[in-house]
Structure formats: C-alpha cells, structure tokens
C-alpha cells in the first residue's frame, strides 16, 4: 500500500506538531539559555518543513493523475494480506501469552500455526516446531541463561533434561 506523499506529509506534520507541543512542558536547564526542549524542537521544525514539501509534492502528483492510495500488486489479493495479519497476530499473541503460559508452549503453538498456515506438511510442521523450540530453549535459555518465561511449566526442557542426567549419573 503506497499512500500519496501528501498523506505521508500530513501525518508527519501532525506528529511533529504534537512532539513540539510536548516539549513546551519541559523545564528549562537551570542557569542555561537552552534546555532539554531545544533539540527536539529543532527536529520538530525540520520534520514540519519536510512534511510541507511532501504535501506540495503529493498535491502535484495528484494533479498529474496519481491516486490518493495506490495498492501494491500483492495487496489486491486476500491471501498475502492475511499472511501479513497472521504474522502480526502471532507476535501479538506471543506478547500477550508468553508470560502466562510460558515460552515453550506459546512459541511451539505459534510456530505450528504459522507452519500450517504457510502450508508446510503437517508432520514437518510438528517436528519443526518442536525442534526449533527445544533448540532455542537450549541455546538462549540454557547456554546464555536468558530467563525465558516458564509460565505453566514447572521447568524448562533443557533444565529438566540436565536434572535428569544429573540424577542418572
């Protein structure tokens, strides 16, 4: 999806105006002429100038027959759009669920759903999801001690395996 430059310019101007408005709440730097608001204000003015030029350019393009919003070739079909939404949904689901359910189960479920959605054969999808999650759990969770959330599981697979090996030998 490609919006006309005037739309992009408008969004940028609105954003920069809000940014400058916020800088007026910043306190002055005691004893100095310039405070923490100076640099963001310069950036804001720069963005507004760029935004205005973009608006001008966009209106010229519109007069020359350009559309307000031009769809990319892929965006004319349902399937690519739903592909993007599924990926975004997967990340969102991870953010919402990982702390509660735990890394292992959330990541495995998300991978499995993505694999199946992208038409990986079911057996390969299941195996791929399990192997990938176990690898990440070992590599980041075990080797680098990243505290991947446990959630409902009592222990991570790598830690469980290491405990098992320790009791056996």
């Amino acid at each position: 999806m490609r919006a006309n430059d005037a739309i992009a310019g408008g969004v940028i101007i609105a954003f920069a105006a809000a940014m400058i408005a916020i800088t007026f709440t910043f306190p002055p730097f005691p004893g100095q002429r310039y405070g923490p608001s100076l640099f963001p204000q310069i950036l804001g003015i720069g963005l507004i100038v760029c935004g205005l030029i973009l608006v001008r350019r966009g209106i010229a393009a519109r007069r020359a027959g350009g559309a307000w919003v031009e769809l990319a070739p892929w965006a004319r079909h349902g399937r690519p759009i739903s592909n993007v939404l599924v990926v975004l949904g997967a990340i969102l689901a991870y953010i919402l669920l990982a702390d509660r359910i735990g890394f292992v189960l959330t990541a495995a479920a998300i991978l499995l759903i993505l694999f199946l959605w992208f038409r990986v054969r079911p057996l390969a999808a299941v195996l791929g999801a399990i192997i990938a999650v176990l690898f990440v759990d070992w590599f980041f969770g075990w080797m680098f001690r990243v505290p991947l959330p446990l959630g409902v599981l009592p222990n991570s697979p790598s830690a469980a395996l290491s405990n098992l090996l320790r009791t056996m030998f």
Binding site: M1, R2, A3, I12, M19, I22, T23, F26, F29, Q32, R33, Y34, G35, P36, L38, F39, P40, L43, G46, L47, C50, G51, I53, L54, R57, A60, A72, W74, A75, R79, P80, N83, V84, V87, L88, A90, I91, L92, Y94, I95, A98, D99, F103, A107, I110, L111, L114, F115, F118, V120, A124, G128, A132, V133, V136, F140, F144, V146, P147, L148
Partner: protein, 496 residues
C-alpha cells in the same frame, strides 16, 4: 607491530576461533538466501554477541558481514535474485554468464575477488584508522558536532534515492533517540510518566524489528508463489581465474579503491559501492558493448568493491563514532554496550582489542576462500530450503533475540512496533537505514550540540572559531543549501 603481537593471543583463543567459524557459516547461509540481507544477519546476531566478550562479539559481526556480502553473489548467478542488496548491481550480468554456461567462472571470480577486495578494505582500515585517530584526538565538541552533521547529511544525501524521505527517516531516528533521559540536563523526555521509557527505546529490539521483522512481513506477501528449484551443479570454480586476474588487474584495483572510498563515507555502504563501481567499469571499459550480455569485466570491479567497502566502513565508525553504513551503525551500538565507546581514545586505551578485530578482518577474509568454495558446492541444497519453513523460524529468532537483550516482554513490543513502522515506511519509499543512523548518532549529536551551545553561550559564530570546525561547518552548510535547493526547485521536465 608491538600492538599486533599483543592482540594476537586475543584472537587465537578456542572460543574466538570457534565463534568466527560458526558466524562464518551463519553469514554464508543467510547471505545466500535471497531476501535475507547482511544487515538482517547482523541484527539477528547481536543478541547472541550480547553475551560474549568484546573481541569475540566484534569478530562475529566482522565475519558474518564479510561472508554474507560474498554469498549474496551465489543466488544472483543461479536464480537472478541477489542474496543481499550489495549484489544487485551485477545480478543480471551474473545470470547471463550462467546462462552462457560460465556459471563456474562467475562464481569463482565472485569468490576470489570478494576475498581480495575484502583484504584491500581491511588493509586500508588497518593503516588509516590509527593515523586518523591520532589526528582526531585534538577535536572538541565543535568538530564532533559538525562531523556528525556532515555524516548524517552524507547518509541521507548519498545513500538514499529520495533525499527528502531519507531526511524524514533521519529526523524520526533522531527523535526516537530523544526518548528517555536527556543527555545534558537529565530530564526524562517523551516518557509519558512511564518507567519503561526512561532508559529510552532499546536499540537492538528496534533494529531487529526494522530490519528483520519488516523483511519477514515483506517476505510473506510472496511466500505462496512457487519456489524455484535449482538442479544446476557447479564444477571447478577456480579454473580460468588466473587469466581473469591478469587481464582485469586494473579493474580489481579500481573496484577496490572505489569500494574503500564509498565504504568510508558515512551512510554509504557495500550496495552503493557495487553500483558505482559497476557503472564506472562500463564507462572506462574498452568493450562497453559487452556489458549486460554476461561479461566478466564489470563483475570483477563490483564484486571487489562491495567487499572492500565493508572494512573501510569501520574507519569513521571507530575513529569518530559515525557509522560508515547500516552494519557499522549496529557495530557502534555494540561498542557502546561493551563500554568501548568509539572515538580516538579507543586507539589509546583499548588498542589491543581494536587490533584483534583487525586481525579477525584478515582471518575472516582468508576463511572465505575454503568456506565460500564449500557453500558454492552445496548451494543447491541451501537455495532449495523452502521459505515457508524459514520465515516462521526467523520470526522466532527475532522474538527471542529481542527478549534476550532486556529480559522483558517490552522488547518484543518495541520489535513489533519497529517492524510495522519499518514495513510501512519502506512500502512508502522512506528508507529505514537513516532511522538507525539517527538513533545511534542522536545522543552524540545532541550532547556535542548542547555542550557547544553552552560553551558558545548562544553565539553561533563560535561554532566556526576553530579552523577544522570552520571547514567542516562550511562544508555542511553548503551541502544543506544544495539539498534544500534540489528539493524546493522543481525539476525541469525532461525533453522526450
């Protein structure tokens, strides 16, 4: 020489050597897969380097990028798809060569001249960076302010197709850098009262979002198209190389020189080096009519250029803290994380570490020869890995990599926002790389600006009171005036 001998033991450790070998394999595979760039490889690698000592971490990045830029040439010749944007300049030429039955020669030339070009870039880095650091040691906040301005301008103006949109991206990056405690007065800006934003936006999750997640989003819009299956096998890639080396010696040196210069310019990296050197090769060739028909000459220039650009991009990054391209922007972020703040003092206080990185540069390029050969031989299998399996796996790596930096889910949120923002921006022609440059340079720029303003007490002419500062300042202002002129004055219609 002394410092080299001190640096050598830092490299010759089992851990470091093993890291180099593993990152080399990772870089080659990522580079060879179309749609996965060298920057993306670096972004995905950073969370892992987070847990390593400095030399190991920097060595991993050096190796990954060198390998990825070379490996990008392989699918260019086999599939007509550049593995990384740095191979795009000569993708057609390579593919035509393959069609003419010269695939072996093409891959051999790409491999050998990538190695040689990479070595030239590394040599220039090794000789020039310490000398420049000695010169830069007397710089004050005025010089750094102008240098940062000039660097960012250069990044916007050389490295983007549409300077206006590049400038917007840069401002957005600088703004993101403003979030959190401000560097001069210590006031929390744009945090909306939250604790999460006090430390600012985490650089690496944002980076992973903008360079990797956005790439995944782009990738899934075409994932359902039938995959191209290659059945071609590769013979002896080293046959005929000697002939090419003798015949196109000038091209090799010219390509490496152009690559080195463009790499050292802030913001412009391997991809632009390849485009420029290819164009120049055609211009100065005795047989320009052969270009575009599967002719080796331009490939010698540009495949040397993109690898030589990698080394020299480290020069401004290490000496001034101004990134030479988007990969070294990441490197600067890593340097700060490791408490090795870039700048001339780096060469005084941590010279042995920097020289260890230099040694790894040479090592990585030499390692490219056997590993590159191996990957060319097995390219068929790597390129046939289905993308519908690959993209979800990369997504998992992105999520876990972002999380690993801060150990909090907020990092994944930043990654998601960065991914969507990067994707929308690229779809609308706003380049992503300036955002990262702005974010990396923002604090340094503002700090030097505020220090200079306070020193000057608002008198702007003081910014020009030192000779080098004045030169840099005038240069910056002239460039700005030129850009504004180009943007405001509408182009005259081209005669048909």
């Amino acid at each position: 020489m002394d410092v080299f001998l001190k640096a050598l033991p830092l490299v010759l450790e089992t851990n470091v050597l093993l890291t180099i070998l593993l990152s080399a394999m990772f870089g080659i595979v990522v580079g060879a897969l179309p749609g996965l760039t060298a920057t993306m490889a670096t972004a995905l690698l950073v969370p892992v380097t987070f847990f390593m000592p400095p030399v190991q971490a920097l060595g991993a990045i050096v190796t990954v990028t060198a390998m990825a830029i070379f490996a990008g040439d392989i699918p260019a010749a086999m599939l007509r798809m550049p593995g990384t944007p740095a191979s795009a300049a000569y993708t057609d030429e390579s593919y035509r060569m393959a069609q003419k039955g010269q695939l072996d020669l093409n891959l051999g030339v790409n491999l050998v001249f990538s190695v040689l070009g990479g070595l030239v870039g590394a040599a220039v880095l090794i000789f020039l960076a310490p000398a420049l650091a000695e010169f830069a040691i007397s710089f004050s906040s005025f010089e750094y302010f102008w240098l940062a301005c000039l660097g960012l301008t250069c990044a916007v103006f050389i490295a983007t197709k549409d300077p206006l949109k590049g400038l917007v991206s840069l401002f957005i990056g600088l703004f993101i850098g403003c979030i959190g405690i401000d560097p001069a007065a210590g006031y929390p800006r744009f945090t909306f009262g939250t604790v999460v934003l006090l430390e600012g936006i985490s650089f690496i999750p944002l980076l992973i979002g903008m360079f990797a997640v956005s790439e995944i989003l782009r990738g899934v819009t075409t994932v359902d198209n039938a995959a191209t299956v290659i059945k071609k096998s590769v013979g002896n890639v080293f046959a005929g190389i000697w002939g090419v080396m003798k015949r196109y010696q000038v091209n090799f040196w010219r390509g490496s020189a152009i690559g080195t210069v463009i790499g050292a310019l802030p913001g412009a990296g391997a991809d632009i080096a390849a485009w420029v050197s290819y164009a120049l090769a055609k211009r100065f060739s005795k047989e320009p009519e052969k270009f575009g028909t599967g002719h080796i000459e331009g490939i010698v220039d540009s495949t040397s250029a993109n690898n030589s650009a990698l080394g020299s991009a480290w020069i401004p990054s290490l000496v001034f803290g101004i990134p030479g391209d988007s990969i070294t922007a990441i490197v600067i972020g890593v340097l700060y994380m490791k408490n090795l703040n870039p700048g001339p003092t780096l060469f005084l206080e941590n010279a042995h570490m920097i020289y260890a990185v230099f040694i790894i540069f040479i090592l990585a390029n030499l390692l490219m020869l056997p590993l590159g050969w191996a990957v060319i031989k097995s390219a068929r299998h790597i390129l046939n890995v289905p993308r519908n399996l690959l993209l979800p796996l990369i997504l998992l790596a992105c999520i876990v990599g972002s999380f690993a930096i801060t150990n909090s889910i907020n990092a994944v949120v930043i990654m998601l926002v960065g991914g969507v923002l990067g994707w929308i921006m690229e779809e609308n022609g706003f380049p992503v790389a300036p955002v990262i440059l702005g974010l990396v340079l923002g604090e340094m720029l503002e700090q030097n600006f505020m220090t200079s303003m306070i020193k000057a007490d608002g008198e702007f002419l003081v910014f020009f009171s030192r000779p080098i500062a004045a030169t840099l300042g005038v240069l910056t202002l002239v460039t700005w005036a030129w850009i504004i002129w180009k943007a405001v004055v509408p182009k005259r219609p081209q005669p048909a």
